[in-house]
Structure formats: structure tokens, C-alpha cells
Symmetry: C2
Subunit: 260 residues, 2 copies
Amino acid sequence: MLSKNKIKFIKSLDNKKTRDESGQFIIEGDKIVREFLKAGQIITMLVAQNKWTESLPRHVFQNIREIINVEYPELKKISSLRTPHNVLAVVEKTEFRIRWNEILNNLTLVLETIQDPGNLGTIIRTAGWFGVRNIICSPDSVDVFNQKVIQSSMGAILQVKVHYPDLHAFMDRVSESDLPVYGTYLDGKPVYESTLGPKGIILFGNESTGISSSLEKYITKKIKIPCFSDAAEGIDSLNVSMATAIICSEFRGRTRGYSK
Amino acid sequence: MLSKNKIKFIKSLDNKKTRDESGQFIIEGDKIVREFLKAGQIITMLVAQNKWTESLPRHVFQNIREIINVEYPELKKISSLRTPHNVLAVVEKTEFRIRWNEILNNLTLVLETIQDPGNLGTIIRTAGWFGVRNIICSPDSVDVFNQKVIQSSMGAILQVKVHYPDLHAFMDRVSESDLPVYGTYLDGKPVYESTLGPKGIILFGNESTGISSSLEKYITKKIKIPCFSDAAEGIDSLNVSMATAIICSEFRGRTRGYSK
């Protein structure tokens, strides 16, 4: 049975400020909760129907601090989904710093002012698929622990670390290395003709305003995804998560290092 | 001023049955309404603030059957968006048939049981970018005139025709031609190594269940987007709209026919 206070606390985690202060966030659904448990993440509160909890392997219970058995109507009360899943969990955030050896030896996505949670979640999922380990967002971007981000990342958040540093400080540090910095521009070189490597930074600007001029100095290679439409009007841009998927695929396909 | 009956009618267009019976659907927002007018589409009812309507070029008024001036609170009442735009329009559906000369000479996407409106909208937008003119959906897919589809297609619906034929009948006809039929499968050939051409059918299965076995016989080339993640768990699939974007990009990048 869920107390009023607990309902209040769970609902308060919709709010970034509360997530920051408590160091906790919410995940919902059978698949993602199992993945978090499998990855050894700490669940501070597991709210589920009895039969769901009973289906868990014994050894994961050591990472669950509190279990609250509820019936479906109660789950519905606390869920942010229209059709709630059979489990909701409050999870402890894992703190991590930027590991420069990972940045210097891999592909890293840098996103400027990304605001749509669905887009960020999908980008995380795609980045995970393409073996990208770090995503750098400007501090004014949507919070990765926003529930919509978590839901659309489909568990990839366990593999991909999302950081919110000062972008200029981050790019200053990058520019001290010989890491190529790719930026997507309307007048860039078609990505199909560009020299792409297994490591580097790929910078994506805001969907409406593009890469801000103060970041342009860091770009060493301007690229673009050419438009193939013969329509005069109506197709003026690609969704940023589509652009990310296409460019990640181009980078990875070019290096032919795939295994599966 | 909006009468109660009109509010009721506009709201009823949220419903596929009403859209089918009336042959009308809704678009919202400055950009998309202007694009529809520019493309010569018939608007049966334009609901907007006076100052917005006054900003329209004179010649488009011949395609607007009724103009209703409202204030923002009224727009809010009829809008399906959390933050309504300054204009909503009821548009007449354009009827079109499948043109086989287009299918036989271009790339066409076939989507089986696509259900998420945001995904379909994004796929339409991406298809438009890559010069795909036709998308074939199985009849149990989400309706293209669903408002969320329209909003996320960002006007690309003016360039890309979405059809809902019986998939088997459509594929039977395709199989009488020499058009290659690509299907995405877990055990397909990596798309980066596949021979891709400027025309053909690309079949995408449902996100959870994949391509149904009854359609497999039509596939002439099985392809896949390889996973580059070294994580054992957590990354088990790509979002279908991402897969579409990546595969369209691969097809178009390979033929190098881009102009912009």
C-alpha cells in the first residue's frame, strides 16, 4: 500500500529540481527495471504488483531497498504513462565524470540546446547501438533523467553516459588534442564524400537555430546530409535524432568495425 | 467566434472514423498552414487570430472556404497541442491512387503495422528529405491524418503519399516486376556491404514483432543495420524511424545522385 507521502515523493520526481536534490529518478516497465537490476543499479523503491516482484531472480533483491506491493489502480495513480506498466522504480543516480581517455579514443556526440525529451532519448538509444559511450549536452538541454528521455532511450542509458558540462570549456579541452571536430552545416561537405574516422567529436546544433556561432571556431570539418528531394517546398530539415542516426551510421559503416 | 457545433466538429476530427466520413483533417501552426495553402490545398475552415489571417497573401484566399476569427483562449479550446499555435485549419483530404510508374522507378518504403504516430510522422519527414514519394502502410497501421502524424511530418505530407492497400496484393503486383525487395532482418547482410540501387521496395516490420512470415516470400534481399555496441545487454534494437533514416541514407548516399 502506497502512503500519501510516497505518492507525493514519486510525483515530485517529475521535477528536475527534486531529482537533483534527491539524487533519484524514475523508471517504468518490466524490461527497463530488469535491465537496471541486472546492471547492479540501486533501486530505492520498487512499486509493483506482487506477482511481478515474485518473478525476479533472488539475487537482485540485495539492490532493492524497499518493495511496495500495489494493485494496478494504485500504479495508475503514480504513473506518468497513459497505460502504466506493471512496475515503477525509483532509482539512485550514478555519478560519473567525463573520462578523457574515452573521449579521445571514441566517437562522442555533442548536442547544443537539445530540448525535446523524445529526441534526446532516441539519440541515446541510437548512440548505444553505434557504440558511442558519451554524449555531451549543453547545460540548457533537457535533463537526461526526465522520464520521457528515459522511456525513449529504452535502457540504453545504462551504456551511454550523458554529461552537461560548460560546452566551451569542454571544447577548449578537445581543441588541445588532435581530435577532429565535425559540425553539421547547410554548406558542409556531403557526409558521403567526407573523410570520417573511428574517433572524434560530432557537434549537432539546436533544431531551429543550428550550431551557435561561438562554437564554430572549434569545428575542424563541416559536413551535411544532402537533401534528395526534388520538391521546391516543404522539406526543409531533418529531425535532429534522424540526423544523428544517419551520421553515426556513416561513421561506423565507413570504418567497417562491426561485429554483430 | 466559434459556435458550439463547430467546436464539436473540430474535436470530432480527432477520430479516424469522422475523418474518413468527412474527408477532412486538421493541421495546426503557421508554417504548415502556409505550406498547404502554397501547395493549393483546399482549407474548409481556417481558425485564426485576425492579425494572422491578415498576414496571408491575397491570392490564397480563393482556397479558403470559411474564415473564423478567434482570440487565443478559443484556439486553446480546440487545439490538441499543449501550447497551441496561432492558427488551426480543417483541410480537405486529397484522394490519390498508387501510381505504378512511380513505384517501379523509385524507392518506396513499406511499413508493416506501424502504430506510433510520432514514428510515422518522422518517417514521412525523412522519406521526403530523401526523395521517397510513396510510403505503403498495412491497413492496421496508424492513420496518416492523425494529428500527431501530421505535426511530426512537418509538412512533408505534401510531398510523400501514404497509402494503405492490402500488403499482399501490393507485394504480389511488385513481385511481377523485377524490382528488388529489401527487408530488414537480424540475420540480414550488413547494409554497408549490400548492393543497393536507386529503386526498389524496402520493407520494415513492426517494432516488436518484425516482418511477418507471410511477407517473407516477397523479400529478395535481406539486410540489417549492424550493432556496434560492445555492451552485452541493454541495446537490443533501433527505433524503426531511425532504421528508416539510416537505410534511406545508405541507399541515396550510394547512388550519389544528390543535388543540394
